[in-house]
């Protein structure tokens, strides 16, 4: 029993080390290749542009629900006028970065893991190595930098649409004063709050892209079954681990950022 826990612990620490080296090598290899701008643009399209619709839809409904929930809580304290402030701070500091990251993992992260996994099984990664092309630079690095660019931008989109969703519920449906809604937001939300949300988005972008790419890249050793089922296994694991990474790092970051 103790031996098993020990082996699991060693395996976890060892995988964490591999993941860190993988991430660092990918980050460092972008500018050691040709046609960097072209690859980066394509990755921004895949991760950023294609995730805009889902981010906007989820952002709007989150804002609508949050407006409704917070309104009923605040009426108990006769503080409905604080609705704008409550919705905005919740979304900007917490819900926006977390939900956006989870949405991007669901759409782009899973696709990234599956694509790299299939390329591994089809010997395309080996082919790159025999052509003396760095597979991390070619396959992972542009996606990693694209994620660092796209996560904060998509988070900003989520924040804007979410706050507008709260406005729709609170002001248009439940009769909260429009002036109070916007002025409270203006008074309560500082640049630091917005930047804290972006720091979280950057961290989530880095963590989730590295995890998804890592699972796909090593699908031949990480999956217990070879072939298509192995890719499906590592893709599922990539999404689960990314979600855990988002939530656990969110707790750590919130603790750190609130202390400042």
């Amino acid at each position: 029993m103790i031996g098993r826990i020990g082996r699991k612990g060693i395996s976890f620490v060892s995988e964490l080390g591999e993941l860190t080296i993988f991430g660092a090598s990918s980050l460092g290899s972008l500018f050691r290749q040709r046609h960097t701008f072209e690859k980066l643009t394509r990755s921004i399209y895949e991760i950023g542009v294609r995730c805009i619709p889902i981010t906007l839809i989820v952002g709007l409904f989150t804002g609508l629900v949050l407006g409704l929930q917070l309104y009923y809580v605040l009426t108990k304290f006769s503080s409905e006028s604080l609705l704008g402030q409550a919705v905005a701070l919740s979304i900007i500091m917490e819900i926006g970065p977390v939900f956006t990251a989870i949405m991007i993992v669901g759409q782009a992260g899973s696709a990234l893991s599956a694509e790299i996994g299939i390329q591994r099984n089809a010997e395309q990664i080996d082919a790159l190595q025999t052509m003396n092309i760095n597979p991390l630079a070619f396959l992972v690095s542009p996606r990693l930098y694209a994620a660092l660019i796209c996560f904060p931008i998509l988070t900003a989109f989520f924040d804007i649409v979410g706050i507008y969703g709260g406005h729709l519920t609170g002001v248009s449906m439940l009769g909260v004063d429009q002036g109070a809604y916007w002025s409270r937001i203006y008074e309560a939300v500082s640049v630091k709050n917005v930047m804290d949300g972006f720091y979280k988005a950057l961290t989530f972008g880095l963590l989730t892209t590295v995890i998804c790419a890592f699972q796909g890249y090593y699908t031949h050793v990480k999956a217990s079954i070879p072939g298509a089922r192995g890719v499906s296994q590592t893709t599922t694991r990539a999404v689960v681990l990314s979600s855990i990474a988002i939530l656990s790092s969110d707790y750590l970051l919130t603790s750190l950022l609130l202390e400042k």
């Binding site: 290749q33 040709r34 046609h35 010997e123 395309q124 190595q129 025999t130 052509m131 003396n132 092309i133």
Partner: protein, 242 residues
């Protein structure tokens, strides 16, 4: 025999307790075609992967024309071709040059189009790998290997999963293009005796060692005792006794 182009000395590789290659010595002559034969799972592909650098040998040296251990001008042909599905034929062929060399778009296009013409792929240039036949895919993979002007091409079971007719057309393709482009071939195959028609040397890998190395005709005329067990069932299947 011509000069030795590639020299393997004491090459060893094991996976856990299992010894795959056990101090292998092998000489590949310049501009020759050498085929490594042996039972499935015996380590033929591992040998190629060690030579290409995809796997790191546990011991031994790989020398190219008495120079360094690595092989800068080596190309690898994978069993399933390893073409990129999201790139068309032109882009697949251009990939190694585009990523590694500083060439203008016009020069790149000229070089790729020349190979497309030489390998008779004109009608497939804008198609994706999923839209072309198995034989065409092999030629695209060969064109991608040839674009960097390799001195040696490593073929990993190039006829896996092909019917007998296609097998011979792939062997013809390798022979013809080798004559045309002048590269050295090291091939792994279990197509015995069909492969004997195109190869200059045969190396028989068994239990981690090269048990026989020499011309295929010698092998057919007087096979060593230990090789007869491997060879006879194949020869009797392909050439039934009259």
């Amino acid at each position: 025999m011509s000069d030795t182009f590639l020299q393997l000395r004491g090459l060893s590789k094991r996976f856990g307790p299992q010894v795959i290659l056990n101090a292998i010595d092998l000489d590949i002559p310049l501009n020759s075609h050498t085929t490594v034969i042996g039972r499935s799972g015996i380590g033929k592909s591992v040998l190629l992967k060690c030579i290409s650098g995809l796997l790191k040998p546990d011991a031994g040296t790989i020398r190219l024309s008495n120079s360094t251990k690595s092989i800068p001008q080596c190309a690898y042909m994978f069993q399933q071709n390893a073409l990129f599905d999201s790139l068309n034929v032109f882009e697949n062929i251009a990939l190694p040059l585009r990523e590694k060399e500083k060439v203008s778009a016009q020069r790149l296009s000229e070089q790729v189009n020349r190979l497309i013409d030489q390998l008779d792929l004109q009608n497939a240039a804008t198609k994706y790998p999923a839209e072309i036949s198995g034989g065409m895919k092999k030629r695209v993979a060969l064109a991608r290997a040839l674009i960097t002007k390799p001195e040696i091409i490593l073929f990993d079971e190039p006829t896996t999963g092909l019917d007998p007719e296609r097998k011979f057309s792939v062997f013809d393709m390798i022979r013809n293009y080798r004559q045309q482009f002048g590269f050295t071939v090291l091939m792994v195959s279990h197509d015995v005796p069909e492969v004997f028609g195109i190869t200059d040397q045969v190396a028989w890998l068994d239990a981690g060692k090269i048990r026989y190395w020499g011309p295929p005709n010698d092998l057919l005329e007087s096979p060593p005792m230990e090789l007869a067990g491997f060879l006879n069932p194949r020869l009797s299947t392909d050439k039934p006794a009259a």
